[in-house]
Point group: C2
Chain length 371, copies 2
């Protein structure tokens, strides 16, 4: 093999400002600048109106420029899920970073303390003695780390199970060398503000009885974000998806279809039968996230088209319920993804546009970092 290795083929494929979106090769996620800006403004206005600090979760976009826009609009700090994400955003100038994850293991602790040495506002969460004691053992001889107690107020993921457990773990953190107790954090079930409020109020009160204050009480989530003001025990709210929005957020009532800033541009590459269209966006572009839907995204302009199956690079669309024109081979279509955050994680660059004209291309700087 290899008689004429193609060293000169450029692998970079980066649209330029001024390019027209409909001319881009596909599949490509594209972001509408005006919708993006409106989503940032709408949520920040709500937080401001209710006196809630806002901490956007950067997992949705992984792009420092967008987090800068969120902070410029009024966000107090940012939320990361991984140490490596926090490192990227610290490099980009962010100091107030909450990592909402239990950090375990020597390698991660070493990187966490290196990061803590360099920025002023690093915070993590913990939900067990094991995690807390591991943090304390590492940070005892170093610059102290701020740790919040993660509470399961209904989300059924991580978190202590009761206000009494939250208070006990908070007291434990407060007494541990190398650690500063930072307050409480929860990952709530949507539309469950009353239960969240009850849990947090009780936990705060129990800690106060022991003379321990909660500087931060951090509630979260986009789906029922506009009920955040009902959780008066919280000092701040975290949300990620709201910046792009997606099909699941439309269903949750958080936004309208026309608030979805991310579309996946795809091309119809085959029409093997009257009722079947195949596009060049599969699970490596849309992801397989169903989030309770029966299909893999909403085709803009074809409300009765059903993306019924995905291969890695093919999406199979059932057109049998479509009344009126059907997309033909070569047509470009746009898809609102079920879940925007996972799409961001598949692409090294994100293309932005206004009225169909490319405005900028941003590196998805924190994409694919291992932990």
């Amino acid at each position: 093999m290899a008689s004429s290795i193609a060293h000169d083929i450029a692998l970079e494929i980066s649209p330029k400002p001024g390019d027209r979106i409909e001319e881009l090769s596909t599949p490509r996620p594209i972001i509408d600048e005006d919708r993006l800006a409106a989503n940032i403004a709408r949520v920040q206005s709500y937080m401001d109106a209710h006196g809630l600090n806002f901490r956007p979760h950067i997992k949705t976009h992984k792009i420092p420029a967008l987090a800068h826009a969120q902070v410029a609009a009024g966000a107090k700090g940012i939320n990361c899920q991984k140490i490596t994400e926090a490192e990227v955003f610290a490099k980009a100038g962010f100091e107030d970073i909450l990592i909402t994850f239990n950090i375990l293991g020597a390698e991660k602790l070493a990187r966490l303390s290196a990061l803590n040495d360099r920025i002023a506002g690093l915070k993590v969460v913990a939900d067990s003695m094991v995690t807390v004691d591991g943090l304390s053992d590492w940070f005892a001889a170093r610059k102290p780390l701020t740790v919040l107690v993660e509470c399961d107020t209904g989300g059924a993921r991580c978190g202590v199970q009761s206000p009494a457990q939250a208070a006990a773990l908070g007291k434990h953190i407060a007494g541990k060398p190398g650690l500063v107790f930072g307050g409480l954090m929860n990952y709530p079930k949507p539309n469950d503000a009353a239960a969240t409020q009850a849990f947090l109020v009780e936990a705060v009160a129990l800690l106060k009885n022991d003379g321990i204050e909660c500087p931060i009480v951090s509630n979260g989530g986009t789906p029922s974000l506009f009920e955040a003001h009902l959780v008066t025990a919280a000092t701040e709210h975290r949300a990620g998806t709201y910046i792009y929005n997606d099909r699941s957020m439309v269903r949750a009532g958080h936004c309208r279809e026309e608030d979805c800033a991310m579309h996946i541009l795809a091309t119809v590459v085959s029409r093997p039968t009257e009722d079947r269209a195949v596009i060049d966006a599969g699970s490596k572009a849309l992801t397989s996230d169903l989030l309770g839907f029966a299909d893999y995204g909403q085709v803009v302009g074809y409300p009765d088209a059903v993306i019924k199956g995905l291969s890695e690079e093919h999406g199979v669309i059932d057109l049998s319920n479509c009344i009126g024109p059907r997309p033909e081979i070569g047509d470009k279509i746009r898809i609102i993804p079920n879940h925007t955050c996972v799409v961001s994680n598949l692409f090294d660059q994100m293309v932005f546009h206004r009225d169909g004209v490319v405005t900028r291309v941003e590196d998805v700087a924190a994409r694919g970092l291992v932990w």
Copy 2:
């Protein structure tokens, strides 16, 4: 913000040969060298025994070094799904490349012809007059491109629907300037060798009646790969997943659990309840591909553990059916993913090991290329 930007934090996290797998931070996909080599050898031996040319699909690993190993074992060429994948592998020295996709649009055609100018054995497929005519218009004044007709022999994705359509499109290609008719290609339904054989035999005969030979008849798929010899009309077989194998291939009967070369190493980060464990591998490590399973992977050593839900960076495991020891906070576990090909697409590097000791780290060179 940004008073002490952390310019000096190294973002690269690359294990070194000699590192022990159980010391790696998680989540991390890891590849067992011996299983990998055995999977390559087993399938190549089968193909050799039946006189079938073998064309591995690189979508599963996207790593040139692994494709070189596949070719060294006897594979005739490689299969790519995207032009950009083919470019990466052309750069790495591969010449016999079949892109099993309908290529449409000026930008893709320009890159396709640039690639065709540089390597000897580039081939693509088409399943419509629209695609064929687009290729012919572009290649008429350039080095001719070899085009195969994609046939839907039961896979219900792309492809012409009947042998008569296949013959008609093949004849059309053969008469078009700039194109060389290369034969037939199909994406079959598993366990459907008889239908595949019947379709291909008839299409080949119809073309022969018109004096048109099929140099290549390319059948494919891992799930029922060991029935490839029943499709005697085929001159070659394509398969990707076999090199790593995964839970869906175990279910399909293609391999055993101990033939799965890829595991996802994860850490238990929380045990909020007696029956719930939370790991640091979520949909951004395992993907949401269910492929008909009820949960998101098989936990090695805990056959009754159910990975019932994934957030982006958390996996929630239901332990309620587990008899015996349950994993504790800090424990590292291994997961056999439902679908290995989509996991490869999430990570920039893949870590290989033998008996738990890192042997090498390979860049996933064709990961995340846009099209």
